[in-house]
Symmetry: C2
């Protein structure tokens, strides 16, 4: 039997060690998953394209971890527990073994951190840029996923962590903004999925912020048939984001790459929310309220004046 | 609220109508799937890249259907029943609305044919070629999936349908081979996933042939720790493939894009196999046997002479 193509050698060397038992050693056409009793499966898919969603010069291990984490962030927003993932890599012919080694090492590191395993995948050649797609699977107790729909007038608008660091990190990596501590670049490269919050029964609606706070808040409004008003003075900014100055505020509010959670919480659940984020040692901040009215997002600046934006958020096309 | 980016309009217009209830109207970050009781989930992912796996001139509806079907073929090989899929589209900026319309129409047609629904997806811009990735999900009765491993010396090697048409169809579409009836091009564009065969308890091992009969048979050998011998005189060829002549035999055996099933069947199960394919109105042919010995594939030509190949099968890199 002649030597196997390079594809199989790469899979055996770098990816088979990442496979969980459901992945059948990546030696079958499929993964076989016995769903845990009483659970629903939560499925999400996100793609990253070199030169579009990450910089071709980004370290491969960080690209791998970001690819995983942007998907885990979607699971976090549903209060799901991650279980595993399937991966597609369309790679240019000149992608080196070193690149695959580092990429797989990044996956391995985050598999350990998040307790997940590779279930399956596909590899393809491409004459274009490196293109990655990842399907992540998690579980929730049946009926307990927190959806995008469910916000209502009177609910508070809450966000975890700090807003805008990822977009500013991209600006820093592109040389448009100083980042002496490297904090902003780190936030761009390695988002922190806010897993582990028990949001069922607390949040009425939830999503993660990936395309910009203003645009993603618009999605919650449309799903609810409600309006939203936020105050920029309340939006939590990191020290480095505050240091960037007010000219970067619009970037923070619309730039995307936050991977923080955006929640609608009834006032009656605020105490439970604060207790839960304290238990999880996370920060959370109320930045506004949902209001009666047709879907719209009103942003009031430091002087409570209405802010408008040249672009509300990130478009994928 | 300003107008939404084009992405959301495209999703709303072309893809939301394809979503099943688990897809939450494509208006959430995730799909929510309640697994049927007593079932295991079967998961597979396959990608197609324009210019690599399909011709940029291929009709978008056929590209969509091929993308679905190459994944359904993997489910068929496990004797699984397809349930739904998640989709990633990385599209160049000049991809037209007409392209998306036709692509979604192809998905809709095959969703009806195979009784499945869209569960979720992601869209991305790319400066490179159109790149598609699809994760398909099916179900099997717990413990009843037919895996790649399980072949043993003495088992017959069986294939459904006819071998080589897809590879010859590509040659025809590239102008290298006459295809007066269009049969070969049709077989390349629109593989027929061999769903519905109740293979559990009949086949000891199963996979679909996507990368060429010889190479894929090598995978069954490695998974089993057994050798295989096939006779080209037994390999089922369609009329147009026979008409192409003996100079195309190597292409038929190694070219890939067959999406027929390759099975290991103990002699004691042959009667049950033949009854089952008759029930499903499929054709099936025994082309050789597994033998004791280290993994290897022996191919005997019309004169029973040993055949060797310049390339055993299709490499993805």
């Amino acid at each position: 039997m002649s030597a196997l193509p390079r594809e199989f050698a790469l899979i055996a060397r770098y990816f088979r060690p990442l496979a969980g038992p459901e992945g059948l050693g990546l030696a079958d056409d499929v993964a076989l998953l016995a769903p845990p009793a009483g659970k629903e499966l939560v499925l999400t898919v996100d793609a990253l394209v070199a030169g579009v969603h990450f910089l071709p010069s980004d370290p491969p291990d960080l690209v791998a971890r970001k690819l995983l984490r942007v998907n885990l962030s979607d699971l976090a927003a549903k209060a799901a527990i991650p279980l595993g993932y399937l991966l597609t890599i369309a790679a240019p012919a000149d992608t080196t073994d070193d690149w695959f080694f580092s990429f797989a090492a990044g996956l391995a590191e985050d598999q350990r951190e998040f307790g997940i395993a590779l279930l399956g995948g596909d590899s393809a050649a491409t004459p274009g840029p490196l293109t990655l797609s990842l399907t992540a699977i998690g579980t929730v107790d049946a009926g307990r996923a927190v959806l995008r729909r469910g916000a209502a007038a009177g609910h508070g608008i809450w966000v975890t962590g700090t807003i805008g660091d990822g977009a500013l990190g991209l600006a820093a990596l592109q040389g448009r903004l100083a980042d002496p501590s490297g904090f902003l670049a780190q936030r761009y490269h390695l988002p922190e999925p806010r897993l582990g919050l028990r949001l069922a029964g607390i949040a009425a609606a939830s999503m993660d912020i990936s395309d910009g706070l203003v645009q993603d808040l618009g999605h919650l409004c449309r799903a609810a048939g409600a309006a939203a008003e936020i105050e920029t003075a309340l939006v939590p900014l990191s020290g480095p984001a505050r240091a960037a100055g007010p000219s970067w505020l619009e970037t923070c509010l619309t730039g995307g790459d936050d991977y923080e959670l955006l929640l609608a919480v009834p006032p009656s659940s605020e105490a439970a929310l604060l207790a839960e984020v304290k238990r999880a040692t996370l920060a959370i901040t109320r930045i506004g309220r949902f209001l009666a009215g047709p879907p719209s997002v009103t942003v009031r600046g430091p002087d409570r004046a209405l802010m408008t934006f040249s672009r509300p958020g990130w478009s994928h096309f």
